[in-house]
Symmetry: C2
């Protein structure tokens, strides 16, 4: 796993101390691309860091969100989820299976960006556009 230096750099840039807990949480979040919940992260990170406290997961995630290293994601159905990918992207979501995947589409972003440059919304200043594409996945998860 050679991504650790990259994680350390991220944490440093955010002005955060490098702790095993933070590195492990970020690493797990980057590895699991499934938008895990705090609970799932706790279970997974606990394997590496035995004495881990659930509170640390919440603290760590809150800190990461504060610093913009991680984003919160919420569906209509369940609890808060977290996403280490901070580049602009959208989500595919199937309510039946509660499965969520990332969706990148620069062409779409371009089109939307142009659209909202042209069409102003009265009294509202758009800073970010997020799509949730609802539907069904045709195949099983990888």
């Amino acid at each position: 796993m050679k991504i650790i230096p990259e994680i350390i750099q991220k944490l440093n840039e955010a002005g955060l101390k490098i702790t095993p807990q933070r590195v492990a949480v970020m690493q797990t979040l980057m590895r699991l691309r499934s938008h895990p919940t705090a609970e799932e992260l706790f279970a997974e990170v606990s394997r590496t860091i035995p004495g881990l406290s659930p509170t640390t997961i919440y603290n760590t995630l809150d800190t990461f969100v504060d610093k913009g290293l991680v984003k919160r994601v919420k569906t209509d159905m369940d609890v808060m989820r977290y996403d280490a990918i901070t580049e602009h992207h959208h989500h595919l979501y199937c309510a039946i299976s509660d499965r969520m995947e990332d969706y990148f589409d620069p062409e779409l972003d371009q089109m939307l960006s142009e659209y909202f440059t042209r069409k102003k919304i009265e009294g509202f200043n758009v800073t970010d556009i997020r799509l949730q594409l609802m539907g069904d996945f045709e195949n099983k998860p990888k």
Copy 2:
């Protein structure tokens, strides 16, 4: 408030019994266009129906969602919210003030619909497109 007959018709069409609780919940949800939480609804509906149980709010909302009379809405920040408007629409959301408003834009819907007809997503069948427009409201709530 002359929308009650309309509510009764809705409930009937959904095969639900007409109870004061259901009528009041739906009425309140239609009047408050603020995507209230279950708690907010409980507080508001309690004024009309004194002995109301919070459980009834949850039951009623679940039933309404089941029947498609109401939609769940979730933000990144807080608990579940509910929306009586089931016509297709999007949301304007300001994370700082936690304020959310509806946004209707048939032209946008048209454009997106055309886009996803043309551009298929591998392994995913889109049934609904929801935008969350993040940003700031320039004026106070009405």
